[in-house]
């Protein structure tokens, strides 16, 4: 056994008695088997096809602590300015992976819409949670590690027909270094229900830490979930996450990712269009500078006929920043009348920046419309000249063009309060 596995083995032995739902039947065995799965594989190396451009060797060397934290108390006033939706009617706050009831509010929610911390769910509910997370947790070594250690996270559940337009906020704050946080989020929308949830990750330490998350979204017939994820992680952080949405008939899943900072980010996002007439919109923006790396691996599975997917990722790469985009679209043999669109556009602002972009289309049906395209380019000289010829300073013109490129990703976010909040966040964080 390698020293790394040995370290996490002893972390597992130390943490396991402290993890929630221990008494519920099945959990101990479940964690144990997840642990074994991880121990067998270890951290992925760049020889692994899916991790070819993204090395986690430095993360592996860190030997992070995995036991639940006891963070120093924070007050809302110190977070309010940083929260993207400080006035959200439903809000869950976690500090170093620990739920903070006093910073959270869930009392203003409409009847039939519930939101809370996973640790607060009953043992019976927790088994359902296990079921939800089961599939996602078999995907990568990190999801296995997550299953072994998962202790906390957010859940939102909307009963049939309950619709809430105003977005909910889930805020994860990291204040302490040398720590791994294994988080899970479960979003469930029953038939005809709808809600939006913003997951914001805020790094308030420059020490290294790991956020290792697994998120599941389940959408029943005609349901709609909008999921907005914002990574504003610390300078030496690692953020690794897997999201899976399973969609029934006529459901709509909107996924927006904003990877704005952090040493290394890796997102595996998957939408399964399991029944006819379902639609997914998957959009994202990654911004890297210094020596940051953001990696998006997305999968859209058209398993049923008459489904639509619309995917667009954009990247702004500065200095020695790097990015990876791998977009897989799989259209099953009987998924006729599939409509699928994918694009990835990258703006390279320095000679040292680098992006690897790869569409991966696996189309087994014949009556489909699928398009994809990727571009890697510099700022448009002609546009830059035009703005300057009107008197705008060179730097101002440049910033405007970069901003215009990036803000385009907000297409599809129609709710003014959310759009404004994201727009001002993107502007505010543009020059860090």
């Amino acid at each position: 056994m390698s020293a790394v596995i040995q370290h996490y083995q002893s972390e597992f032995e130390r943490a396991e008695p402290l993890l929630p739902w221990r008494d519920a039947k099945g959990w101990q065995a479940w964690r144990q088997s997840a642990w074994s799965r991880f121990a067998e594989q270890g951290f992925p190396s760049t020889r692994h096809e899916e991790w070819k451009y993204t090395s986690v060797a430095a993360l592996e060397k860190l030997l992070l602590s995995c036991a639940p934290a006891t963070p120093a108390p924070l007050d809302w006033a110190s977070l309010k300015d940083k929260a993207v939706l400080p006035e959200a009617r439903g809000r869950l706050v976690f500090v170093d992976g620990v739920f903070q009831p006093t910073l959270s509010r869930v009392d203003g929610l409409p009847a039939g819409l519930r939101m809370g911390a996973l640790s607060g769910r009953s043992t019976q509910d927790s088994l359902k949670l296990q079921g939800l997370l089961e599939q996602g947790q078999r995907r990568t070594p990190f999801t296995a590690l997550n299953a072994a250690f998962v202790a906390e996270g957010a859940w939102v559940a909307a009963e049939a027909g309950v619709r809430m337009e105003e977005p909910l906020l889930v805020l994860y704050v990291a204040t302490e270094g040398q720590r791994a946080m294994h988080l899970a989020n479960a979003y469930e929308a029953a038939e005809g229900s709808a809600f939006s949830v913003v997951e914001q990750y805020l790094g308030m330490t420059d020490e290294p830490y790991l956020v290792n998350g697994v998120t599941s979204a389940t959408l029943d017939e005609g349901a709609k979930i909008s999921h907005i994820k914002i990574q504003q992680e610390g300078a030496r952080s690692y953020h690794i996450a897997a999201l899976q949405a399973v969609q029934k008939r006529s459901s709509q899943f909107n996924s927006h990712s904003f990877a704005l900072s952090g040493a290394l980010g890796r997102n595996d996002i998957e939408a399964i269009l399991a029944e006819p007439d379902a639609a997914v919109s998957m959009r994202g923006l990654y911004r890297v500078s210094r020596r940051e790396l953001q990696d998006f691996h997305t999968t859209i599975r058209h398993d049923s006929p008459d489904c639509t997917s619309d995917e667009c990722f954009k990247g702004v790469l500065n200095e020695s920043g790097r990015a990876v985009f791998n977009g897989k679209i799989r259209v099953a043999p009987d998924a006729q009348h599939t409509l699928s669109q994918q694009s990835n556009h990258n703006l390279l602002l320095s000679d040292q920046a680098e992006v690897d972009t790869k569409p991966q289309l696996e189309i087994f049906a014949d009556d489909v419309k699928c398009s994809h395209g990727a571009t890697v380019g510099q700022l448009d000289e002609e546009q830059w000249f035009y703005l300057r010829s009107r008197g705008l300073a060179a730097e101002h013109a440049r910033a405007l063009l970069i901003e215009a490129f990036a803000l385009d990703i907000l297409t599809g976010i129609d709710l003014p309060v959310l759009r404004d909040a994201l727009e001002s966040l993107l502007r505010k964080t543009a020059h860090v």
Binding site: D380, E381, E382, Q383, F385, Y386, L387, R388, S389, R390, G391, L392, A393, A394, H396, A397, L400, L401, E403, A404, F405, L407, D408
Partner: protein
């Protein structure tokens, strides 16, 4: 206002402007005509500061200053305005935002206070009436999805707002139907002033029926080969550019086509 002396410029290794001489005094309107590829846009771009053509020799004095030594944005703030032959679309940058940023950059440069949103909007709306433009165009992205005519009108709108001292209009008439041409010409004419000079670059003499130039120059293969009054434009219209050949200015006029 503007004195161009023996200006040579190349794109890559290829000489495009081969010794341009031109003097434009305050309040004058000069037309520069010439066949496609003669270097009209290159000259316009060099004056505005575009770097894809390199000036290899010669000088340009603008209000007694070395124009070529100024940055693009400095030229603009000092009152040089180029209405582009092909205005570029800039998705995501609002038309109204650009107008305001441009005007305020100029005002700041001249030590004037920036205009507030109200005063600015009143000014722009006033100018838009002149250009017979729909106000919704303010809230669209710069030139994005504009028709050819809308783009040209938008250029003149910017000119009307910025009130340049030297305006260079590069084929502002091309692609316009007769109604749009009249609107654009009307906008330009309303901006004629004793302290404002204009250089109108055009392939056809059609625009000159609506905007009367004081002087007409013919550019061919990077040189001004003829200069004269408005009547020169009519001769060109009658005889075509073949009539000019590439003889230097002052040579005997050859007739025939």
């Amino acid at each position: 206002m503007l004195i161009i002396k023996d200006l040579h410029a190349s794109v890559g290794d290829k000489p495009i402007l081969k010794g341009i001489n031109l003097e434009v005094k305050a309040g004058e309107v000069h037309a520069i005509m010439g066949p496609n590829g003669s270097g009209k846009s290159t000259l316009s771009n060099v004056l505005a500061g575009r770097e894809n053509a390199t000036v290899t020799s010669g000088s340009v004095l603008y209000q007694d200053r070395d124009l070529l030594a100024l940055d693009v944005e400095e030229r603009a703030r000092e009152g040089v305005f180029l209405a582009f032959q092909y205005p570029v679309e800039i998705p995501g940058v609002g038309n109204v935002y650009l107008l305001k940023a441009a005007l305020n950059a100029q005002r700041k440069h001249r030590g004037l206070p920036e205009l507030d949103a109200m005063d600015f909007l009143a000014l722009v709306k006033d100018k838009m009436k002149l250009m017979e433009m729909n106000e919704t165009m303010l809230y669209r992205s710069v030139n994005e999805g504009f028709s050819g005519g809308e783009k040209k009108r938008n250029e003149i709108l910017q000119m009307a707002v910025l009130e340049p001292r030297l305006a260079i209009l590069d084929e502002t008439d091309s692609g316009l139907d007769i109604d749009a041409l009249k609107i654009v010409a009307n906008g330009v004419n309303s901006l004629r002033a004793p302290d404002r000079s204009m250089i109108m670059v055009t392939h056809y003499q059609r625009l000159l029926d609506y905007i009367k130039p004081d002087y007409v120059h013919v550019l061919a293969e990077g040189r001004i080969v003829r200069s004269g009054g408005p009547e020169l434009a009519h001769e060109l219209e009658k005889h075509g550019y073949a009539w000019i050949g590439d003889e230097p200015a002052g040579a005997e006029v050859k007739h025939g086509s």
